[in-house]
């Protein structure tokens, strides 16, 4: 197999060198800087990173829902099934949203309109992209609620969002998102606002729906637990850039970028010996307005050396299906290769 992490199937979504900038009074800030990413049918890609690393903006850029101003796509291309989304008119884009690409959001309690019943909102979502009559849409709504495992679906149609729990609301959101059979579902922190047991159920539900329909799934999260449970491939982002990409097993076994290693070290694990302190990544993310020359992670990196301060590392494929943007990792690996060679 090629040493490239691009999957063998034709991708549903191909993001190529996407650049999103924030136009603020303090200047133009590169919030997403040259992100490339592809999602194949039936594949789950996780985008991981801490708050403000640009992962949500990247998702909104795909949906063309960036808050403009201040954010704007300044470069790159987003291709969905070979179609350039940036070239579509707003009206054409509206037909793509919800039908071909759907999105679910972090807080299900605020993502539903509080004054409309769950049924009304589901029916509206169905009728948005189909010619279904109200009756047909209502039947389909009940069917959808059953699919997302909501008990007593007929009666739940008449409930208002405040009568539902967080987990239930997120199920409704998922039902709305899959209502028109999208080929790609983007889940922006889908379980962050939910408690742990519900979280597992929701992730399981997403996986199940995906297996059934074969849609591509992008999960945006800061929780490596979620990644381990769901993802096939992981993209790690730091300060607007992709710093590492790998298949999920490889990433957990052998993280290349020191930032990824830091994230793994900071995650509590049942397997690890109890009682030890979690390792933390020292320092904090530099502000986008004063990113240092060279690597953005240099001030927090344990392996930093001179070259990191002078030059910005480009993403390089260092191992089969695994790439990282780090000079230290490159050096380390080439040393290993040299050692094997002798």
């Amino acid at each position: 197999m090629a040493a490239d992490p691009v999957p063998e199937r034709t991708p549903i979504l191909a993001i190529d060198n996407l650049q999103v900038s924030l136009f603020t009074r303090r200047g133009v800030l590169p919030a997403v800087d040259g992100l490339s990413l592809s999602v194949a049918p039936g594949e789950t890609v996780a985008i991981v990173g801490e708050s403000g690393c640009g992962k949500s903006l990247a998702a909104l850029a795909v949906m063309r829902l960036l808050p403009e101003p201040p954010a704007r796509i300044v470069g790159g291309a987003v291709r969905f099934m070979g179609r350039d989304l940036a070239a579509l008119s707003e009206r054409e884009m509206q037909r793509v949203r919800g039908k071909d690409i759907s999105m679910i959001f972090q807080d299900p309690m605020t993502s539903l309109d509080p004054v409309l019943t769950v049924g009304d909102q589901l029916i509206e979502a169905i009728r948005q992209h189909t010619e279904a009559s109200w009756r047909e849409a209502a039947n389909r709504a009940v069917e959808l609620l059953r699919q997302v495992r909501i008990p007593d679906a007929e009666r739940r149609l008449d409930d208002y969002p405040h009568q539902m729990s967080g987990g239930m609301s997120q199920r409704v959101m998922i039902a709305m998102a899959i209502a028109c059979g999208p080929q790609l579902l983007i889940a922006d922190e889908p379980t962050t606002a939910l408690d742990v047991t519900v979280q597992a159920q929701i992730l399981e539900l997403l996986k199940e729906l995906q297996t059934r329909s074969g849609m591509g799934l992008i999960i945006i999260t800061h929780d490596l637990g979620v990644v381990a449970e769901t993802a096939d491939r992981v993209v790690v982002m730091y300060a607007g850039r992709k710093v590492e990409e790998a298949r999920v097993g490889a990433l957990f076994d052998r993280p290349l970028h020191p930032y990824t290693r830091g994230l793994l070290g900071a995650t509590p694990s049942a397997i690890r010996r109890r009682g030890g302190r979690l390792a933390e990544i020292a320092g904090s993310v530099p502000a986008l307005s004063d990113l240092p020359a060279g690597c953005a992670f240099q001030n927090r990196c344990p392996d930093v050396f001179d070259r990191c301060r002078a030059e910005r590392p480009a993403l390089a494929t260092l191992l089969p299906q695994q790439s990282a943007a780090c000079f230290a990792a490159e050096k380390e690996l080439s040393r290993n290769v040299a050692a094997i060679g002798t």
Binding site: M63, L65, Q94, G98, Q128
Partner: protein, 281 residues
């Protein structure tokens, strides 16, 4: 839905003043509706001797005016005019106000700038003079009075709607609607407006009271529709006799006062019942 309505009625009825206002308002509406049966003939017709005092004659319980027209009949028909103008003017104002406020807040930027400057422009013009100008340009007809009153009273509704929309516009459910491919108008009026409506309804109900006063003022100044009986006009006609037959002004005056009071009490009651923050007081 029924449970919601009952709950709403219970909260509304808990406010004693609002209940009194509601009863008064129902009485005025009842009189307005029953006018053609109570007084089958034209109320502006001269029926008897001028200046019969109230309660002096059993045929004319509220007396007659300087021309000998039945005051009771004019009050009953005047209630129709007053309520109709109040309601329609408030509806006009609400439609204009919601459209302007919603568009301004939702689109922001130069649209907001433009619409808000326009709103401020309307606010700076003295209301009564503006109404009188419009009526004297368009003509003395009841429709034009309604439109004129609507045109001067929409500004507070626009500002309130804008404020409500501003706080709702960036909520996650709006983003979720967009991600489902809904268009702007659909989101504005189908999703956001129902959320913004309760305070707007309250304000609209108070605008009715204002509109009643405007209509009275216009008619008092003799610019109302000459073919329609109206409370303001009755006061205007009676003002020359205010030293001797003061009841000609006092009776319609009391009618205006009670109606406006009732509308305000109902408006406050709606506010209490619709405002979730005051719900558990």
């Amino acid at each position: 839905m029924l449970a919601l309505a009952i709950d709403f009625a219970r909260r509304f009825a808990r406010n004693r003043a609002a209940l009194i206002g509601f009863v008064l308002l129902v009485a005025v509406i009842g009189v307005a509706l029953a006018a053609p049966w109570m007084f089958p003939r034209n109320p502006l017709r001269i029926v008897g001797r001028p200046e019969i005092w109230p309660f002096a004659s059993s045929r004319y319980p509220l007396g007659t005016d300087s021309l000998g027209r039945d005051i009771a009949a004019m009050i009953a028909y005047g209630a129709r005019t007053t309520l109709l103008i109040g309601l329609c003017a408030s509806l006009t104002a609400t439609l204009i106000g919601i459209s302007v406020g919603a568009l301004a807040a939702y689109f922001g930027g130069w649209v907001d700038e433009l619409l808000m400057r326009m709103t401020e422009l309307f606010q700076t013009i003295p209301n009564l003079i503006f109404v009188l100008t419009i009526v004297s340009i368009l003509g003395q007809k009841i429709e034009y009075v309604t439109i004129a009153v609507g045109i001067v009273t929409w500004t507070p509704i626009a500002r309130l709607t804008r404020a409500e929309f501003m706080s709702l516009r960036d909520r996650e459910f709006v983003q979720a609607c967009r991600s489902m491919g809904m268009g702007n108008l659909r989101i504005m009026f189908g999703e956001i407006l129902p959320n913004a409506l309760p305070p707007v309804i309250v304000l609209s109900s108070l605008v009715i009271a204002g509109a009643v006063l405007f209509e009275s003022a216009v008619s008092f100044l003799g610019l109302g529709d000459p073919n329609v009986s109206s409370w303001g006009r009755l006061i205007g006609d009676g003002r020359t006799l205010i030293r001797s037959s003061w009841y000609i002004c006092a009776v319609p005056g009391a009618a205006i006062m009670l109606t406006v009071l009732a509308l305000n009490l109902v408006g406050d009651g709606l506010n209490d019942a619709l405002n979730p923050k005051l719900r558990d007081r």
